[in-house]
Amino acid sequence: MRVAERIKHDGGTAAKAAKAPSAPAAVVPPRKRRGVNREGLEAGRRSTRTLLWVLLAAAMVLYGFPFLYLLFTSFKTPIDTIAVPPTILPREWTLENYTSALGRNGVLASFINSIQTAVISTVLSLVLAVPAAYGITRYKTLSGRIFIMAALVTRMVPPVAIGIPLASMMGSVGLSDTPIALSIAHTTISLPLSIWLMSSFFEAVPKDLEEAATVDGCSRLGALWRVVIPVVSGGIAVTAIFAFLASWNEFLFALLMTAIRSQTTPVVIANFQTQFGLDWGSMTALAAVYSIPVILLTLLLQRKIVAGMTLGAVKG
């Protein structure tokens, strides 16, 4: 009983001491040995922590530097942007690139088009992916398994292979150069990923929850809406972010399917590289502005994203 209490209090060290009463106390006093262990443990923890911080800092630099370089370039003068060798910080800070980029004809319209397209595509993806993934995970039929594999196969087709026929089809149904056409095209990219993501999130939800809801009087759809959906809301946020980003940054379909009315910002950004030169300053300024909504959205949904990302992790 006493040993058990000591085990509980000091985490097992006492138990080891109790099991080895013959240990020569004069050679290594137990108190001293415990002190050395604790200090060694502390030092080990400190060095592990330092190593982790170094790795974290390196990863942050690796991921963050390109964006920071883009940001700094957007504040450089024209000659600074093409300096050989390049400089990281502007020699002279200027807002000229922002004025020039945002003052360019069609930039505002392209922003609105990008938002419109990304929102519609995200909604379409979720509206289709949530019930599809729920059905696949809950009913576990052969056709469901084939369907989910087939959805994955569509990700393996190069976008350019479907882009040209898709553009042609949209033209033939009178949807040429409209955000809806582009949204549908973008949904073909995000939907397979959304179904897979949502499937893994639904897998993590115990069936007992739904059964409990059913016992409490919910219909199957009611249980899905009132119990399952709130549980996987983090997963839905993650899926929404991925679907939104897939559309927000997409270039090829936007290039093939848009013209005057629905051109999105990635195409406008690419337009700064012409056959006659590359306007680095304006290009980086517009790219910096274009990344703001995504950063804000990610910050806004940060908690949901983290919750969603760990949702599948507790499954096993």
């Binding site: 003068t77 000659i79 350019v160 040209i164 150069d177 955000p179 290039l255 093939l256 337009n271 006659f276």
Partner: protein, 425 residues
């Protein structure tokens, strides 16, 4: 929640989504007419982003004179070919006029309609001979050159006029330091200025036109003579050896140097001379160390005279447009008001008279050498094969990169010949 309530909520959500979708059928770009609105006075013009500015003045004038409204569809150069291929092959085009790079003209010759009526005798005299020839495919003119360009020599006037440099150069080479008129002079001057962290010139391993200009200057057709591949002839080898030989007076890493890199090097004051497209003269940034210090000279002559590879863009009218009349009116406007392009930031046109009108004005010093180069006896456009772009991307540029990195020129040319023959089969 009952199933009924759930379904009704789903229906409301669906209706809202549908409403949003319906609203989105009109994008923020405005209610532009797409091609197919027969008989309207609005035309959609597909243009590479850099060329948009050249046509803006023309569009304004066209609205005034002919009542034609113009919507521009701007696309990046790298994506334009895909877009054109996609729309031409579907037979459903979203534009009424397309500005095509001369390299693409053979690829799309069957998708555009003749515009012979614009090529009057007077027009043919006012357009550079090489361009008149290139615009004519199978006996019909299919594209009006909206603007053109050619490589000329840009050099550092301040360095060339420096008294000490002049004296040193005279002492070393035995003749006066001036803008080069022979390739020997170009070589000497490049060597002379390669010192103190500076280079005499650049060597662009990432582009093919400069090397091909040397081939033309030697009197040989470039790469193809009709259907025959002549890339391994003496003129090509000599041109390649000379081109690679300049690398010792150029910054290292020539294999990766392309137009953008070469332009940056010159604008940064790292090179004393460059062979570059004429428009670059007017695009030197005001805060560049070389701003106001640059001189221009025509492309250098070889045994066949001055020769360059022009870079024109052609306005074409797709067969699939239902707005042919307004489209042709716009193309006519582009010819009539061709000089409007010169007032744009790109500062280019295609009519000889337009260039001549401006050549003596301050700021347009590149026009004289440009006219001389475009009128050069050896100046010729690229071979009229739809495989040209593929030949450039997969054979010529990789071969040049290997050559400037020290590869054996004869072996590389022989290998290139075989690859091109395979491509053309």
């Amino acid at each position: 929640m009952s199933t009924r309530t759930f379904i009704s909520r789903l229906a409301i959500g669906g209706i809202c989504t549908a409403a949003a979708l319906a609203a989105s059928a009109c994008g923020a770009g405005g209610p532009a007419n797409t091609s197919g609105s027969a008989g309207t006075n609005t035309v959609n013009v597909l243009v590479e982003a850099g060329g948009h500015a050249v046509l803006t003045g023309v569009a304004e004038q066209c609205k005034q004179d002919a009542g034609v409204n113009v919507n521009f569809v701007e696309l990046p150069y790298d994506g334009m070919f895909n877009r054109l291929s996609s729309e031409f092959s579907s037979g459903n085009v979203s534009f009424d006029v397309a500005a095509l790079d001369s390299v693409w003209l053979p690829s799309f010759k069957d998708a555009v309609q003749p515009i012979d009526e614009i090529f009057t005798e007077e027009a043919k005299k006012d357009i550079f001979p090489a361009l008149v020839k290139e615009a004519n495919v199978d006996g019909h003119f299919i594209g009006l050159p909206a603007w053109t360009n050619a490589e000329i020599i840009l050099y550092r006037k301040d360095l060339f006029e420096d008294t000490k440099n002049k004296a040193d150069f005279q002492a070393k080479y035995g003749y006066e330091l001036a803008a080069p008129t022979t390739w020997k002079q170009y070589q000497d001057i490049s060597e002379f200025f390669t010192r103190d962290g500076m280079y005499g010139t650049d060597v662009k391993g990432g582009v093919e036109t400069e090397w091909l200009a040397h081939v033309l200057q030697a009197g040989s057709p470039m790469v193809l003579d009709g259907d025959k591949v002549v890339i391994d002839n003496a003129a090509h080898k000599e041109a390649l050896d000379f081109y690679v030989g300049l690398a010792k007076s150029a910054p290292s890493g020539a294999a990766q140097v392309d137009w953008a890199a070469a332009q940056n090097l010159f604008n940064q004051g790292k090179t004393a001379m460059t062979r570059f497209w004429a428009h670059a003269y007017r695009q030197i940034p005001a805060d560049s160390p070389v701003a106001g210090e640059v001189g221009t000279a025509p492309m250098i002559a070889g045994s066949a005279g001055i020769g360059g590879v022009p870079g024109p863009w052609y306005l074409t009218v797709p067969k699939a447009t239902k707005n042919t009349e307004a489209a042709k009116k716009f193309v006519q406007c582009a010819y009539d008001h061709n000089e409007k392009g010169i007032e744009s930031n790109l500062g280019l046109a295609s009519r000889i008279s337009a260039f001549e009108k401006y050549q003596d004005k301050e700021g347009y010093e590149s026009f004289g050498p440009l006219i001389e180069t475009l009128n050069g006896p050896a100046t010729a456009t690229r071979p009229a094969t739809e495989k040209w772009q593929q030949i450039v991307d997969t054979v010529l540029v990789p071969m040049l990169q290997k050559a400037v990195a020290g590869g054996d020129s004869a072996a590389l040319l022989a290998d290139a010949k075989k690859q091109i023959e395979d491509l053309l089969k």
